[in-house]
C-alpha cells in the first residue's frame, strides 16, 4: 500500500511517463509552433514508431536497430505526409487542418490494425537493461530507469538542434514570424518539411522506447494523444520548455494519483488543466497572443 518505497517508485514511474510525455509533446508543439498545424495524427506517429521498431526487432533482434529504424521510419512518414497533404492545408482554416490530420491518424491506425491485428505485441527491453536495479532502499525495473536517461538524452539532442544550430534558429524564428523568415530568403517550405519530420520522429522515438514498458496495440497512440494535449495546454502551445515542464507535471499527477486510486488519474489531470486555464489561460510557459 502507501508506504515510502512505494511512493518513491511511483515518483520514478511518474518521471518516466513524464519524460516520455515531454518528448512527445515537444514534437507536437514544435510542429504547431512552426507550421501552425495541430497534428491530430501525432498519437498515430507514436504508435507507428512502436510498430516499426517491433518489425525491425523481429528481423534483427537488436534493440538499437529497432530504435533507429522506428524513428527513421516515422520521420519519413512525417515528411511524406507533410509534402503530399499537410502542405496544401497551410492556407486553410484550422478546422480543416484538424479534420485532415484526424482522418490521417485513423487511416494509420487502421492500416496497422489490418497488418498486425488488434492483439497486443511486445518488444523486450535490451538484455543489458533487463531485470531490476537496487537503489539501496528499494528495487526498481532497470529499463524504466533507463527510459528516463534515454529520453533526457533525446530531449537534450532536440534542445541542441533547436537552440544551438542554424536550423534551430530558423525554426525558432519561424515560430515567431514565418512570413518574415520567408521574406529573408530562407526556404520556409523546406524548413517546414524538416520540422514536421523531426516532430514526428520525436513521437516515433518515444513510441519504440515505450514499447517494452507498455505492450503495443493499434490504439496505443490515442490515450497518449489526449495526455499530450493536456501537457501542451498546461505548458503552453509552441513552448519547448513548456512541453517539458507540462510533461513532468502530467506524468507525476498520473502516477501519484494512481497510487491512491487509478480511476481518478484522469480526473486529477483534468483538474490540473482546468486550474491552469483559469489562472494562466496561455499555459505555464506560453506567451500571449499565439492561438
Amino acid at each position: 500500500m502507501i508506504n515510502w518505497p512505494n511512493f518513491v517508485s511511483q515518483l520514478f514511474n511518474g518521471l518516466a511517463l513524464g519524460a516520455l510525455l515531454a518528448l512527445i509533446s515537444s514534437g507536437l508543439t514544435i510542429i504547431y509552433g512552426t507550421l501552425g498545424v495541430l497534428n491530430l495524427a501525432h498519437g498515430a506517429m507514436f504508435m507507428l514508431g512502436g510498430y516499426a521498431g517491433y518489425v525491425a526487432f523481429g528481423y534483427t533482434h537488436s534493440f538499437i536497430i529497432a530504435v533507429i529504424a522506428g524513428s527513421l521510419f516515422v520521420m519519413v512518414v512525417g515528411i511524406v505526409m507533410e509534402r503530399v497533404i499537410i502542405r496544401h492545408f497551410y492556407q486553410r482554416p484550422h478546422e480543416d487542418q484538424l479534420l485532415v490530420t484526424f482522418g490521417l491518424g485513423i487511416c494509420f491506425v487502421e492500416i496497422v490494425r489490418l497488418l498486425f491485428g488488434s492483439q497486443s505485441q511486445m518488444v523486450p527491453p535490451p538484455s543489458m537493461l533487463q531485470g531490476i536495479t537496487s537503489l539501496g532502499f528499494m528495487f526498481y525495473p532497470t529499463y524504466r530507469l533507463a527510459v528516463v536517461g534515454i529520453v533526457a538524452v533525446a530531449l537534450s539532442v532536440l534542445f541542441i538542434v533547436l537552440y544551438r544550430t542554424r536550423l534551430g534558429m530558423i525554426v525558432r524564428a519561424g515560430i515567431e514570424d514565418s512570413v518574415m523568415v520567408d521574406s529573408l530568403g530562407i526556404n520556409v517550405f523546406r524548413v517546414f518539411m524538416i520540422v514536421f519530420g523531426i516532430g514526428a520522429m520525436a513521437a516515433g522515438f518515444a513510441g519504440i522506447i515505450n514499447a517494452p514498458v507498455v505492450s503495443l496495440t493499434p490504439g496505443v497512440g490515442d490515450d497518449i494523444l489526449v495526455e499530450t494535449f493536456v501537457v501542451v495546454v498546461i505548458g503552453g502551445v509552441g513552448s519547448f520548455p513548456g512541453a517539458i515542464l507540462g510533461g513532468l507535471i502530467a506524468g507525476e499527477i498520473i502516477s501519484i494519483t494512481s497510487m491512491f486510486n487509478p480511476s481518478y488519474a484522469y480526473v486529477m489531470l483534468f483538474a490540473a488543466m482546468t486550474l491552469v486555464l483559469v489562472l494562466r489561460p496561455h499555459g505555464l510557459l506560453g506567451t500571449q497572443g499565439r492561438e
Binding site: 504547431y32 495541430l38 497533404i85 496544401h88 492556407q91 486553410r92 482554416p93 484550422h94 478546422e95 480543416d96 484538424l98 479534420l99 485532415v100 484526424f102 482522418g103 490521417l104 485513423i106 487511416c107 487502421e110 492500416i111 490494425r113 489490418l114 488488434s118 490515442d222 490515450d223 494523444l225 489526449v226 494535449f229 493536456v230 501542451v232 495546454v233 502551445v237 480511476s263 481518478y264 488519474a265 484522469y266 480526473v267 489531470l269 483534468f270 488543466m273 482546468t274 486555464l277 483559469v278 489561460p281 492561438e291
Partner: protein
C-alpha cells in the same frame, strides 16, 4: 440554401421522413440502420450549429451524448421512472447543464486549444463513467433494459417497440429537432453565430458579446447530444458505455464533414453514408475490419477536395448547372486567400444619398459638451512608447482629421479610443462617461466604433448579411437569447440595412458574397459595418488606403455624405482628401500631438512641414 419560401424545408423534411419507410426497404435498408441514422442525425444537428455555424470544432461531444443517455437510462431502468419522453427531456436538460459548465472552461480559449480541451474533457467523462460512477452507470456493462415509449390515447395505446415500429417516434423527434434548429439558425442569434465563425474579432467590435453566444451554441449542441444519447438507449434497449468514447465524438465529426457542414442535414447524410458503407463493406464485400480504413480514406479525400462535403458538392454542382456560378470548384477547394485585383465599375453620376436621419443620440444631449475627451493618454509596449500623454477633444458634430508620419502612433491611438487595447495611463471620456478599461463591445454599444485599416469583414456572408449583423447589435444589445425570433421580424432592421446599403452605395449588390466584391466595394462595406451599428462617434482608420484615384474621389464624396449629422474622426495619409474633408486636423508625431488646427493652419505650419519632409528646409537654409 436555407431561406426563400417559408416552411419549404420543413415540408420537404416531413415528406422525406414519411416516405422513408416505404422507399428505403426497396434499396435494402434495414429498419435498424434507418433508426441509427436518425439518432446520429439528431446528435449532429446540435453539433452542426456549434461547428458548421459557429465555427467551434469540438471533439468532445461524446461527453454530452453519454451524459444525456445515461441520465435518461438510469431514470428509466434504476429509478423506476415511468415516462420515456420525460426521461429523455430530463437527460437533455442534464446534458445542457453539464454543457454549460464545460463550456465555461473550454471556451476560455479558441481554435486548436478549444479542440484539445474538449478532447481532454470528453476523456475524463469516459473515465468517470467507467470507474467512480460505475455503481450508477453499470461501468463497462452499461445499463440494460431501457424501455421504449408508449402513449395512452384513452381509446388505444400506441407502443413503439423496435425496427419500423420505433421509426415513427424517432422520425418525429428528428422532425422536431430540425424545426427547432432551423428556427435557431434563422434567428438573430443564428446570424451572430455565423459572424463569430467568419470573424470573431469583428463580431466583438460591432457590439456582440461573443462569449455569451459561443456558450449558447455550446449548450445547444450539448442539449441535442443529450437527447440523442437518450434515444440511443431507447433504440438499443440498452445504454452502451461506448457512447462516451472518443470514437463517438470522432465519428460525429467525420459524419458531419462527410455530409457537409453548416447545412443541418449534413450529419444525417454523413451518417447515412457512413452506416450504409459500413454495412456494404463489411457484409457485401466481406472486408471485415478494413471498412474503417476505407471510410478514413474517403473522409481524408473529402476534406482535401470537397471541403463542404456531399451536400456542399451537390449545391455547387447545382449552381454550376443552373449557371449561377461559373465553374468555381477549384475556388471551393481552396478558399480565396488573395484578393481579386479587378477594378470595380464606378457607378456613374450616383445621386447624392439623402442625408439620413441623424442618430438619435445627437439631440438629447447637451451639444456644447465635447463628445470625446482623452486626457494624458499613454501607451507603452515595454520600453517602446507608442503614445505619450495625448490630450484630445472632439466636439459633437465635428469632422476631425488625424495625420502623422508612419509610426506616429495613430492606429494605437484609435485602438485605445475604442478600447481595443487598454491605455497604460490616462482617461477617455465619451459623452461625459469614463470608458477607460471598458470592452470594445460595450463601447460599441454606447455608440463609439471604428472601421478598420485592414478590412475586417464577415467573408463567408453576403453584403446584406454583413450589415444585418452590425445592425443587430444596435437593435438588440450585446446579448439576447431570442432564439426563435425570425430575423426579418425585428422592427427597424430592414430599414436600417437598406439605409446603410444606400449610404455606402452598395444597393446594387446586396446579395453578393463578400468574397466576390471588388476591393473598393469591400472598403465601403467596411465603413458600412461601422455605420450600421449607428454610432454617435465614428472612427475611420485609413478609409482610403489602397484605393485607386478614381475610387478615392468616390469615397471622399461618400465620406462627406456620411458625415452629415455625425461626429467622425478620420486617419488617413491622403492629405488632399483629408484637408478637403476635415474641419480641424490633429497632427501626431512620435506618439505626441504635434499641433492641432484648421487645414489651412496645418498646411502652413513649419513644424508639420518639418515632420513630414524631415527638416529639409532647415538643411537648405543652413
Amino acid at each position: 440554401m436555407l431561406k426563400q419560401r417559408p416552411f419549404l424545408i420543413e415540408a420537404l423534411t416531413a415528406a422525406g421522413l414519411i416516405a422513408a419507410p416505404f422507399l428505403l426497404p426497396l434499396i435494402g435498408f434495414a429498419p435498424n440502420t434507418a433508426n441509427r441514422i436518425l439518432v446520429w442525425g439528431l446528435f449532429g444537428l446540435g453539433f452542426d450549429i456549434l461547428f458548421g455555424f459557429t465555427g467551434l470544432l469540438s471533439f468532445g461531444q461524446s461527453a454530452f451524448y453519454g451524459t444525456g443517455g445515461f441520465v435518461a437510462a438510469y431514470l428509466l431502468t434504476q429509478a423506476g421512472f415511468p415516462n420515456v419522453v420525460l426521461a429523455l427531456i430530463i437527460g437533455m436538460i442534464a446534458a445542457a447543464a453539464v454543457g454549460y459548465l464545460v463550456g465555461l472552461i473550454a471556451l476560455r480559449r479558441t481554435g486548436i486549444y478549444f479542440a484539445m480541451i474538449t478532447v481532454a474533457i470528453a476523456e475524463v467523462f469516459f473515465f468517470v463513467e467507467f470507474n467512480p460512477l460505475a455503481d450508477w452507470t453499470g461501468g463497462e456493462n452499461g445499463l440494460p433494459g431501457v424501455p421504449t415509449p408508449s402513449f395512452n390515447l384513452g381509446f388505444t395505446t400506441i407502443h413503439f417497440t423496435s425496427g419500423w415500429s420505433l421509426y415513427p417516434f424517432l422520425a418525429f423527434c428528428y422532425f422536431v429537432g430540425i424545426v427547432v434548429a432551423l428556427r435557431i439558425v434563422r434567428s438573430p442569434v443564428g446570424a451572430v453565430f455565423r459572424a463569430i465563425r467568419d470573424n470573431p474579432l469583428r463580431a466583438t467590435a460591432v457590439g456582440h458579446n461573443i462569449h455569451g453566444y459561443k456558450l449558447t451554441a455550446f449548450v445547444i449542441a450539448a442539449a441535442y447530444a443529450g437527447f440523442a444519447g437518450g434515444l440511443l438507449g431507447v433504440l438499443q434497449a440498452f445504454m452502451p458505455p461506448d457512447a462516451f468514447t472518443f470514437d463517438t465524438s470522432g465519428q460525429l465529426v467525420m459524419q458531419t464533414a462527410i455530409g457537409g457542414r453548416a447545412t443541418l442535414f449534413g450529419p444525417l447524410v454523413g451518417a447515412a453514408v457512413w452506416l450504409s458503407l459500413q454495412d456494404f463493406l463489411q457484409a457485401t464485400l466481406g472486408l471485415g475490419a478494413a471498412w474503417k480504413l476505407v471510410l478514413g480514406i474517403v473522409f481524408v479525400l473529402l476534406v482535401c477536395f470537397l471541403r463542404n462535403g456531399i451536400i456542399g458538392g451537390i449545391a455547387t454542382l447545382y449552381d454550376v448547372a443552373t449557371g449561377k456560378r461559373s465553374a468555381s470548384l477549384s475556388k471551393e477547394a481552396l478558399p480565396a486567400t488573395s484578393e481579386p485585383a479587378r477594378e470595380e465599375p464606378v457607378a456613374e453620376a450616383r445621386p447624392a444619398p439623402q442625408p439620413d436621419t441623424p442618430p438619435l443620440h445627437l439631440e438629447d444631449r447637451n451639444p456644447a459638451e465635447p463628445i470625446l475627451q482623452a486626457k494624458g493618454l499613454t501607451k507603452r509596449y515595454g520600453g517602446l512608447v507608442a503614445n505619450s500623454d495625448i490630450d484630445f477633444t472632439v466636439n459633437r458634430g465635428e469632422l476631425r482629421g488625424i495625420i502623422g508620419p508612419n509610426g506616429a502612433g495613430k492606429s494605437t491611438f484609435f485602438k485605445m479610443l475604442t478600447c481595443e487595447v487598454p491605455p497604460s495611463s490616462g482617461t477617455i471620456l465619451f459623452e461625459g462617461r469614463d470608458i477607460t478599461g471598458m470592452t470594445v463591445t460595450d463601447v460599441c454599444q454606447l455608440g463609439l466604433t471604428k472601421s478598420y485599416q485592414v478590412n475586417q469583414l464577415f467573408a463567408g456572408l453576403t453584403v446584406r448579411e454583413n450589415l444585418t449583423i452590425a445592425a443587430l447589435s444596435a437593435l438588440r444589445g450585446k446579448f439576447r437569447l431570442d432564439l426563435f425570433r425570425t430575423i426579418q421580424n425585428i422592427p427597424g432592421l430592414p430599414e436600417r440595412v437598406e439605409q446603410t446599403l444606400d449610404l455606402v452605395n452598395l444597393t446594387s449588390r446586396p446579395d453578393t458574397p463578400v468574397s466576390e466584391l471588388a476591393y473598393g466595394e469591400k472598403r465601403r462595406l467596411e465603413i458600412g459595418l461601422a455605420l450600421a451599428t449607428s454610432p454617435s462617434l465614428l472612427l475611420l482608420d485609413e478609409p482610403l488606403a489602397g484605393m485607386s484615384p478614381r475610387e478615392r474621389v468616390e469615397t471622399v464624396k461618400l465620406l462627406k455624405s456620411i458625415s452629415q449629422g455625425r461626429t467622425m474622426i478620420i486617419i488617413d495619409h491622403d492629405m488632399d482628401a483629408l484637408f478637403e474633408l476635415a474641419e480641424r486636423v490633429t497632427v501626431l508625431q512620435e506618439g505626441r500631438v504635434l499641433v492641432e488646427g484648421t487645414p489651412q493652419e496645418i498646411k502652413n505650419n513649419t513644424t508639420v512641414q518639418e515632420a513630414y519632409l524631415g527638416g529639409v528646409h532647415g538643411v537648405l537654409a543652413a
